[in-house]
């Protein structure tokens, strides 16, 4: 089994996440797409750890998970606060700041 399948899968997941961030309108869904991107990075890291025969990549994947967890805490708090005020989590409704 070659490792390139895993890398291609990770690249596809990353692209789906990136496209999702750009086209989806709900802040929670946008945020989930960011998380998908982070997890595709984890897959890439673990695959490269296997390919290079080191454990660094696996350890880095743990770091990424911890940081992603911290990001969820901060992100959901911010999205909650705007949702409670506006009764909507759509990023199109948040349009007071513009040119």
């Amino acid at each position: 089994m070659t490792i390139s399948y895993y890398l291609v899968l990770a690249a596809i997941l990353f692209t789906i996440g990136a496209v999702g961030v750009l086209v989806r309108r709900n802040a929670i869904v946008v945020f989930m797409c960011v998380e998908l991107m982070l997890n595709s990075v984890n897959l890439t890291l673990v695959t490269f750890a296997r390919a290079t025969g080191t454990v660094d990549g696996q350890i880095m994947a743990f770091f990424v998970m911890v940081v992603a967890a911290a990001e969820v805490v901060v992100g959901l708090a911010i999205i909650m606060s705007i949702y409670r005020t506006r009764r909507s989590a759509s990023v199109d409704d948040a349009n007071l700041l513009k040119y």
Partner: protein, 512 residues
């Protein structure tokens, strides 16, 4: 058996002081009674950042790689850490200002109460203040100081998040105009998380290409003349993540919205300190890890610098809000800073590093001062940032107008101010490296940008005051200190920059 990495506590002292102060701040928040919290938190944050500033100055001349190779404590790191700690301490002072707003603070009492609810209207006028911002800001300062010393892409990523997460939160905590502030926080958070995902994917690709994330190992494994697609792709993604933080066009779209929506002291903090941290990391990544592979990134940075200068200068012209205008000015300045980045040769020759560090210091001081002046001019609804409200300010409050004029002239780069010396240094460095077309564009962009700075000055001095115009508040001690320090430094670095320039030149060494 895992070996314990060798830690040099002396070299880490600045970081330990700031992060220690932040942890202590969290404990104070949990255990101290509410009425003593504000002075205690301010004192802890100031002692932490001030102590870090002193510690970096004492460490001057250190060149070592510590913490198992993850941190590089060298001249450049220490100079930038000192800059961040100093500007951070000044920002904390701005946060602590209590006499300008009738509500006694720029920060919301309880961020969890929905904006506009009856409870929120009740809380707007209470003299209670919220003190969580101080530990959060101190964590952000600690993350920034770690960011410029990171010798390892993983540490760089962790530092990026440590500096970003508190910033996302505190930009949503304005006391007035809470909807704008919350919207700024959501935009900053979503785009920031998006950008750090790019940085992280770049990290993974570089790891795959070289088998390591240590900057020196990446340099040793460097691309051999065009073969290594993974490495170059990884570099591009890493640079995108960092350029986002530095608000370089075309990755600047969050900047005006967040700068306008965030509480003004927080905007000042972001504009000054985040810029220093992001450029410190960009310089280290490009020169320590990819210095031998200049051909991969030089054209990219060249193009981005031009785009950033042009976008910042041209869109700045159309703004009617002063905070937005200063945000576009920050985009243009990011472009000028990139000319300095290009003024460093791959082998470390040329004066680009010293010039960029000096520019970061002058820009940080000037922009911090300009935002501090913005907090003074107020109407019934908080700060009056619309351009038309500033008409005739020179007649109403000559001193405020004079100080603002000084900062605007410095941002425009007029001689005898710090802005001129900084611009001169980065342009000279870029010309020495043969990037004169870039400098021509930079000069044209400066001329365009000067127009919108001068427009504000003309408006302040040569227009009739509007009938029910804003009032100019009398600043308390903290803001007065900030304005005095930044104005003096802006003048001093313009008239007698020799000593600081020399310091920057001596510090301009990366240890690999």
């Amino acid at each position: 058996m895992i070996e314990v990495p060798d830690l040099s506590f002396a070299a880490l002292a600045p970081l330990l002081l700031v992060l220690g102060a932040a942890c202590l701040g969290v404990l104070v928040e949990a255990f101290a009674p509410r009425d003593v919290r504000h002075p205690v938190q301010v004192a802890i944050a100031l002692v932490g950042t001030g102590g870090a500033l002193v510690a970096t100055l004492l460490l001057a001349g250190t060149h070592e790689v510590t913490a198992g190779g993850a941190l590089a404590v060298d001249g450049a790191a220490l100079f930038l850490q000192a800059t961040i700690a100093g500007l951070g301490a000044l920002s904390i002072l701005l946060f602590a200002e209590r006499s300008l707003d009738p509500a006694r603070s720029a920060f919301v009492v309880s961020a969890a109460v929905p904006a506009g609810s009856p409870r929120d209207r009740e809380l707007v006028t209470t003299p209670r203040v919220q003190t969580e911002v101080y530990p959060l800001a101190t964590f952000a300062i600690g993350g920034m100081m770690l960011f410029v010393a990171a010798n390892d892409l993983l540490i760089m990523f962790v530092a990026l998040e440590v500096l970003s997460l508190p910033l996302y939160l505190i930009s949503g905590m304005a006391r007035r105009r809470r909807l704008l502030s919350q919207e700024a926080a959501v935009k900053y958070f979503l785009l920031g998380a998006f950008a750090s995902a790019f940085f992280l994917y770049g990290l993974a690709l570089v790891y795959g290409a070289t088998g390591s994330v240590r900057l020196s190992d990446i340099r040793a494994a460097g691309p051999d003349g065009g073969g290594d697609v993974l490495l170059v792709l990884g570099l591009a993604l890493l640079v995108v993540g960092l350029l986002f933080k530095a608000s370089v066009a075309p990755f600047h779209t969050w900047t005006p919205d967040v700068y306008q929506g965030a509480p003004t002291p927080v905007t000042a903090f972001m504009a000054a300190c985040t810029k220093v941290a992001a450029f410190g990391a960009i310089l280290r990544l490009l020169y320590v890890a990819f210095g031998t592979a200049e051909w991969t990134w030089r054209p990219l940075v060249y193009a981005v610098a031009i785009v950033s200068m042009v976008v910042g200068a041209v869109l700045g012209l159309t703004q009617t809000d002063l905070k937005r205008m200063l945000a576009y000015s920050s985009v243009a300045h990011a472009g000028f800073l990139l000319t300095g980045v290009l003024g460093l040769g791959g082998g470390g020759e040329g004066s680009g590093l010293a010039a960029t560090m000096f520019y970061l210091l002058t820009y940080g001081l000037t922009t911090l001062g300009a935002f501090a002046v913005l907090t003074l001019v107020r109407d019934g609804d908080g700060e009056a940032t619309h351009l038309s409200q500033w008409a005739g300010l020179g007649a109403r409050s000559p001193l405020t107008a004079a100080v603002m004029t000084l900062f605007l002239l410095a941002l425009a780069g007029i001689p005898l101010t710090a802005g001129f010396t900084g611009k001169f240094a980065v342009f000279r460095a870029a010309i020495e490296q043969g990037a004169w077309p870039l400098v021509v564009v930079a000069l044209l962009a400066s001329a365009v940008a000067a127009f919108f700075y001068l427009r504000v000055i003309v408006l302040m001095y040569f227009s009739e005051p509007v009938a029910d115009g804003p009032t100019v508040g009398v600043p308390g001690v903290p803001t007065t200190v900030v304005l005095a320090v930044t104005a003096t430094a802006t003048l001093a670095l313009g008239i007698l920059p020799g000593a600081v320039l020399e310091l920057a030149e001596q510090a301009a060494i990366f240890v690999g």
